[in-house]
Amino acid sequence: MSRTVRLPRTSRAPAGPGTLAALTAAAALVLTACGTGTGSGGSGGGSDTLTEIDYYDAAPQNTQLPAILDECGKQVGVTIKHQQVPRAQFLPKLLQQASARSLPDLALVDNPDLQQLAATGGLVSLSKAGLSTAGLYPSIVQAGQYQGQTYGIAPGVNGLALYYNTDMFKAAGLTPPKTWDELTADARKLTHGSRYGVAFSAIGTEEGAFQFEPFFWTAGADLKKLDSPQAEQALTLWQKLVSAGSASKSVVTWTQADVNDQFGAGNAAMMVNGPWQLPTLDANKKLHFGIVPIPVPNAAAKPVTPLGGETWTVGHSNAAREAKAVKVVKCLLGHDESAKWSKDAGYIPSNQQAAAQLAHSDPQMAAFVQEIGTAKARTTELGTGYPKVSQALADAIQAALAGGTSPASALSQAQRTAQN
């Protein structure tokens, strides 16, 4: 196994000082190259080319966005360099760029992450830059604010609603559920063989918390107090759906895309999901479905769904670049661009007028548009404290659905963790 190599006794030094210098220089070059390689664009460059980053990795969003960026870039007179990274690496990438002081000129940031980024001080205040938010939904504007300043504006938003398979409902002689009791009863009746009545994502991340929040908020619960009776009521609903077999035990491992696959394949009669799934579902000609607002605890209640979607932000660089980037954002938020983008990508325009037009022209979007009026930004209650509480909530959901923990004790555990 081991070999011993003996050097000849009279070993001459073959490397002179010159070689040493060359080696050191080469190594230093490698190191500096790595150091600067992380920045894309950076503040030193001219203002003819702006950098942009987002995490859309699926059609049609990832093909529509570059087209609209090119169009707005042309209007403002700049070239926009488009970069796309996976969702899981998006925030780490931005933080890395922030530490190198080379935030991209434009970034499309998931709205609950906006607070964190705004807190760094690396983003340009869009209110100071004179960007108007008139005509946009107030809740959407609020989702992009940090300490009273607007740092991000969403061109379009999304929410959650209940999709139902019309063929299955017709065969069972049912109408889409409006209340929790109807949801439970319908789900039980529609569960048959390998088919579940309802599907949702209860994965242990922000995604699972996002899916639970419509039920959590509609019941009247508050993220500042996770162990309220209202929160317990909502979690009990989900737990009963799983323990009765109306929803698969696998919901704790499903992402929203997995839920969509199950619904598309006919393995679930109903699902909780967002409008961004519409392009995929519409492509499936054999599938017939309708969309209604999320069921509420009693007929008098209004659904309160979390606002999803991304906001445009501008990173600090120099005055000339920042001004151009703000102009691009203004173009992206324009009535026509925002409406076109929203339609192609399955989003609801932030502009109230454009949203109303969409609800009229597109019946599939009506339920989502209807909910936006009462929707809530996730960071409204907690600001930068949101990620931690969302994680605690996701853990509580999983403990109740997969671990046999009672909703009450799962939630009180979550509240303790959130306060820690």
């Binding site: 196994m1 081991s2 070999r3 011993t4 190599v5 003996r6 050097l7 006794r9 009279t10 070993s11 001459r12 030094a13 073959p14 000082p17 070689t19 040493l20 080696l23 050191t24 190594a27 230093a28 190191l31 899981a88 925030l91 780490p92 933080l95 890395q96 922030a98 530490s99 964190q116 807190a119 760094t120 001080g121 690396g122 390998s194 994965i203 242990g204 991340t205 698969s248 035990k249 696998s250 919901v251 704790v252 491992t253 393995n267 930068t384 990620p387 931690k388 994680q391 853990d395 509580a396 999983q398 403990a399 659905l401 997969a402 671990g403 046999g404 799962a410 303790r416 963790t417 820690n420």
Partner: protein, 324 residues
């Protein structure tokens, strides 16, 4: 595997050295030789300093800081002493995470080693098509973990997974097992997949060890009337001990830091039931954005790895001495 360089100057004069040491040629100059030595080691040192020492020091420092999202931009992160470590130790997930890490590591090592050894012994005897079969067993090792992990996610799915279908078909279980969806089964499931991933490595190294055991020993033992079990017990196992030490320590270091398998299969869930220290560190840093606490957990992991790396270095040193 290891190559030792004996430099002229570094060689101690043993008791057997009866010749007087030769005077060095003065013309070359020891200073110049030292410079040359430096020139040869400089790239390695630069590499180690840039890619190991600097980030490691950064991680240790971050463990003592209140490192928030804005610290990335402003560079300001106040020192908080041991607060991050205290917070991690008192975290409601900590005890369970450590227990999970221990169970996951011990379970993986035990079965990887036993199955790997059994396969190595099996393939140590020449038989037709043994070679191709052995190379096929390496496939799990060659596949990217994202690929095999995703495949296992499908296999282990509660409703449509092929494993539950097979078990139901064989009447071994009454109803589908929620492998990845139950807090009772998820740790078992991720451990099983990790065992599958690790078997080829154990098999290959142990097979190499078996090949180096002289055949004559077995022939002599057989002549003396030792049966197969006694030959295995008294020849194979003792002579395989140095290789075993290497396999187990390396396996331990690999297993403690396993991340992708768990992340792909369960993301540490449901409800933290398959969370190990690695996914815990990831969760703290990149889900909850508590970078200081994440770094603290990471540093604990590094400490564990360093301890076992020391054990490994010791084992290989002894092995080298034994081999000489």
């Amino acid at each position: 595997m290891s190559t030792t360089l004996h430099h002229a100057g570094a060689r101690p004069a043993g008791p057997g050295a009866d010749r007087p040491p030769k005077p060095r040629p003065r013309t070359a100059g020891p200073a110049r030789a030292r410079l040359a030595a430096l020139a040869f080691t400089a790239p390695a040192w630069l590499y180690v300093a840039g890619f190991y020492l600097y980030p490691l020091a950064g991680s240790v420092r971050m463990g003592f800081q209140n490192y928030t999202v804005s610290s990335f931009y402003t560079g300001v992160a106040p020192y908080v002493g041991w607060a991050n470590y205290r917070a991690v130790l008192h975290d409601s997930h900590f005890v369970r995470t450590v227990t999970n890490t221990l169970l996951f590591t011990a379970g993986s090592l035990l079965f990887q080693f036993c199955v790997g050894l059994a396969l190595a012994v099996f393939f140590n005897r020449a038989f037709p098509l043994g070679g191709p079969l052995r190379s096929l067993l390496l496939v799990p090792w060659l596949l990217p973990l994202v690929v095999s992990g995703t495949a296992w996610r499908w296999i282990l799915d509660t409703d449509s997974g092929v494993l539950n279908h097979a078990l139901l078909g064989a009447h071994l279980i009454g109803h589908p097992v929620p492998w990845l969806a139950s807090t009772h089964d998820s740790l078992i499931a991720v451990t099983l997949v990790n065992i599958w991933v690790g078997i080829p490595f154990n098999m290959v190294i142990l097979y190499g060890g078996l090949q180096s055991i002289p055949r004559e020993l077995y022939e002599a033992a057989a002549l003396d009337g030792a049966n197969a079990w006694r030959r295995f017990r008294h020849i194979t196992l003792p002579l395989l001990r140095p290789v075993t030490a290497v396999v187990l320590t390396l396996g331990l270091i690999y297993t403690v830091k396993v991340f992708d398998v768990i992340m792909i299969l369960t993301q540490g869930g449901p409800a933290g039931s398959s969370q190990t220290l690695t996914t815990f560190a990831y969760n703290l840093s990149f889900q909850q954005l508590e970078f200081g606490r994440g770094a603290a957990v990471g540093n604990l992991l590094v400490l564990v790895a360093v301890v076992f790396a020391a054990v490994y270095l010791r084992a290989t040193r002894e092995q080298r001495r034994a081999g000489r």
